[in-house]
Structures are given as C-alpha cells and as structure tokens.
Symmetry: C2
Subunit: 304 residues, 2 copies
C-alpha cells in the first residue's frame, strides 16, 4: 500500500490493537543480566558501542515479544543519540527489526527547522540524502516522524512532501507534559494555539488522504489533557492521532471516549515505560512482562 495512513490502519485492523509501542531504552531499568553481558564487552565494543549493542538487544527482544500485540513502534531518538554514532546505528537497527515484523515505525524526533534544514532532517529520517556517486541513501528508513510546528507551515513542508509516497507525519498539537499548557493552551483570536496548529494540520493533510479515509498528516495530542484531545479530534476528523500520556504518565482509557473516527479508530495510543519496564512491576523476564502489559493495554483500549 502506498499511503502510510493505509499501512497504519491495516496494521491496527490486522492486530486488532491500537497500541503504539514506545521504545525508550534506559540502562538503569534494564535487567542486570542483560547489562552485565555487555559490560563485559565494553573493551571490545567501546563504552558507547557496548551500550548501543545492549539497546539493540533489549529493543529487539521487546519488539519480538509484542509484535502481534501492537500496531506500530515508536522509538524515541533522544535515548539513542546520547550514545553518539553507535547509538544512531542502534536506532537504525531497531527500525529494521520492527520492519522485519511488518510493523510500521514512527520515529519520535520532534524535528522542525527552516525549509532547507527540514529537508535534511526528512532525508535523515526517511532517506534520500545523496552520496558522492549521486545515489540516494536510505537514512533511518522510518515510516513516519513527529514534527514540531513552532516554525510554521513552511518548516513542515519538506516532511509533508513525503506523504502520498509512503511516509507520514505527526504534528505536535497539545502535548502530554504539564508545561504543554504554557504556550499551546494560550488563547489567540478566540482559540488556543493548539487549535491553530490543528487548522494547519488539516490544511497540510487534505491532499494526502488514503483509501481508508485517513490522512498521512496526523497529530500528536496527549491523553493527559482529555478536553484538548477531544477538541483536536473535532478539528481533525480525518487525521490519525498519536496519543501519548497513557500508563506511566497517568491517563486511562476513559480519555479515549468518542475519539474513534472510522473502522481503524483513527488513533494509536502510545505506551513506553509501562511496557518497556513492566518487568520491574510484574517480575519475570522483561519480554514476557512486556507482552502481558501490552495485552492488558490492548484490551483496555479495545475498540477494534
């Protein structure tokens, strides 16, 4: 299927799950045995290389364990970037691992810059940078990215231009953190900033609607601000929503009432820590604990 939104819808329908697996590797919460194995290889791999290899094993184990339980995988780039070049390579491998399971990948990078720079970020995430022979490099080969709207529509265009050619974009509207209100909830001409952003998303996404009726230009809206989340949905009936704030951040399934906009719901709900580190609460192997947590979350969200 050509459109990202169609691949995402199909994945939700095939797995009967609207769970988005956030991949947020944090060494301090890894099982001791996993850490010890790579600590012993720090001489061979280098300090950052050993962590990166440990991240790859952790994330691959996680994705293998929940591949039938989640619709999409969302690695958080920041955690990988901390480990430099080996971290970046680990991130590339995590994307490839999700693709082996036929899972689409939303790269959580929250980029946004002036046009020529946004085009370079799009090439980093989606591929397309030229090499010295004029061939096109694959980049991280993500299916979709998160982007920040502060720089305006022209900063988002290089990402949106990839839509309709298999790629997708999720624009931040109302984020899940408490400080999200600082700017996003400010009233301008009778509407909060995040609804002005939603209008921008609607405009950018109108030309990129797939066969399932969803646009490749979606929005990030947090479950921790349910009134705003509902307002974003009302403003964007055709957008896929990427909804953070579940689990560790505190929101529950009640925040999803009335959000469905079609056969494939039109949203995915992210959980990172509550699945990644379910073993800390539940005990046992981190993979089985993650699968149990993902199953519970899938059933709690339901709807498909």
């Amino acid at each position: 299927m050509t459109n990202f939104s169609d691949r995402l819808a199909q994945s939700i329908l095939d797995r009967r799950s609207a769970v988005c697996l956030g991949v947020d590797p944090d060494l301090a919460r890894f099982p001791e045995k996993l850490r010890a194995g790579y600590a012993a290889r720090s001489g061979e791999l280098g300090a950052a290389g050993a962590v990166a290899a440990c991240f790859t094993e952790f994330a691959s184990g996680l994705i293998d364990a929940v591949a039938d339980l989640v619709a999409v995988v969302k690695p958080q780039a920041a955690f990988f970037e901390q480990y430099g070049a080996p971290g970046w390579e680990a991130l590339r491998r995590v994307v490839a691992c999700a693709h082996e399971h036929d899972l689409p990948v939303i790269l959580d990078v929250k980029r946004g810059d002036i046009g020529s720079t946004s085009a370079a970020y799009a090439a980093a995430c989606f591929g397309g940078a030229p090499d010295l022979a004029g061939a096109s490099l694959p980049g991280l080969d993500a299916d979709a990215v998160t982007v920040n709207p502060y720089l305006g529509a022209d900063a988002l265009s290089p990402f949106v231009e990839r839509c309709g050619r298999g790629k997708g974009v999720f624009v931040l509207t109302r984020t899940s953190n408490p400080g999200g209100a600082d700017l996003q909830e400010r009233e301008c001409a009778g509407r909060p900033v995040y609804l002005h952003v939603s209008e921008m998303v609607a405009r950018l996404g109108a030309a990129h609607v797939g066969a399932y009726g969803y646009s490749d230009v979606g929005a990030v809206a947090g479950a921790t601000a349910p009134t705003s989340l509902a307002a974003v949905r009302a403003a964007l009936p055709q957008a896929f929503l990427l909804i953070p704030g579940f689990g560790a951040q505190g929101a529950g399934p009640e925040a999803l009432a009335g959000l469905s906009s079609g056969p494939a719901l039109g949203y995915v709900v992210n959980a990172s820590r509550s699945i990644n580190y379910a073993w800390l609460e539940r005990g046992g192997d981190y993979r089985s604990a993650a699968a149990a947590a993902a199953t519970e979350m899938r059933d709690a969200i339901g709807g498909v």
Copy 2:
C-alpha cells in the same frame, strides 16, 4: 571561565567579531576536487562514510580559515544526521575542531521534548549519559544548543539545568523563515506568542547571569523580522541573541541598529551559506573565499 555567556562574550571581545559561523555542509556546493577525492574512497569508507569524511575535511578547512574572524561556530545537526552514524561522528569531530581553535560551539539542533526525553537530548549534546560501568560519556561536547519552546518551560528545564555549569541554551523566539509568522506572531492577550516565549526565557535565565552581565539562557531571533527582533531585545536586555537571517536569507546590518546591550554587544549574527559557499560567488579556494566573506561580514556588523 565557568559561564558559557562569559566565554562567548570573551570570544567576541578577543576576536572583535560578532560573526557566528554556521556550518551547513551541502555536497552539491562543495568544490569538485574535494568531492572527487572522497568519491574515490567510497569503497573503503562506505557511501555514507565517504560523505562524512568529506564533510569533516570541508568543515575543518572552513573553521581553520575563519578561526580568528568569527566568535563562535554553529554546526547544523540536520546536515550531518542525513549520513547516519558516520555523519554523527563527523559532527562530533567538527565540534572538536572548533574547540582546538578555542571557539565555543552552539549546536543547532532545535530540540525540545517532555522532561525525561529532553534530559537525554541534553546528554547527547552536552555529555552525561552513563555507560555500563557508570561513567559519564562526553556526547557531542557542545557549549550551547538551540531549543524549541513549543512544549513549554518543563521541556526546556533539563537544558537550562546545565547553565551555570558551562553550558548555554538559545530558545527560539521569532525565527527567520517566512512561516515563522504562522504561530509566533499570533496575538495572545495583547502580545504575540514570541514575546510570551521571551518572558519564559527571561524567567529561566534570571538565575544564570555571568560576570559580563549576560545570561546563559539566550534567544534566537531572526534579522529578517527586524521589528520583532527589536521587541525581543527590549524584553530580554540580558540575553545573548543568536541572530540568523543574514546573507543568503536577505537581511543586512541595518537590522542590528540599537541591539547592543553591553561591551560584548550581547548578540552574534549567523551566516552559513554566504560564508560556506562564498567560493561560488568569489571563485578561488573555498577557504580563502570564506575568510574574505567572514571579514566583510565582521566589518559590516562592527560594533566591537
């Protein structure tokens, strides 16, 4: 000196220059001879590795050529990220090259995310990620970063916490691109969004003022919107301003009238393409052309 703002002020005074050298490597504008040398090494280094090595040579040559003419170096991360792990390593080397010349480095990444994720981005840019032995890794070892305020004050805090310990932050207020107006110029409660951001910057920066009287928490404000730039300065008398929009983006020295706020001006003016690729206009070696363009710009800005 402990404070980033003091190191930046000292660099401006020592070099009598308020030029910020943007490093935006773009293969298509490199001298043919430089490209050909690395094209021949694509087999040995890999396609992305050869470009990354070519970037490192280009940027090192540039920095060597203008080291006495500019106050600070600002690599744009996007251009490096396009080339994956080797690109990231090239970015690290460019930071190190600027440091060899005692030039501070503003890493232009425009990051911003919820707290725990912003902390990871801060570790990527400034160092501090733990390895498997519990030691702290150096990251890219930048002196300052650009950050995006859309997620609010709590998203900026992990960066601001590094201030006073040698690091600095530049928060986007009014950016230099045309779409910058889409959200940033919207009126909320009688003031445009970018001035609400400026108030946030003033609040975050008040505790981090160095010996020269400037805060480690600065602001990005584009010269292409001179009225807004002047309003940001009025709202932030103690902030260092990072001013893009000169040269290739169209603004001239008249946009700087009245902006100086002390002996070291309190601002740096960025030029990327007009210095990086001066050879395309002026001919000759790219390094000599860059030095000539940087000298002209330094003199046009003047003031110190």
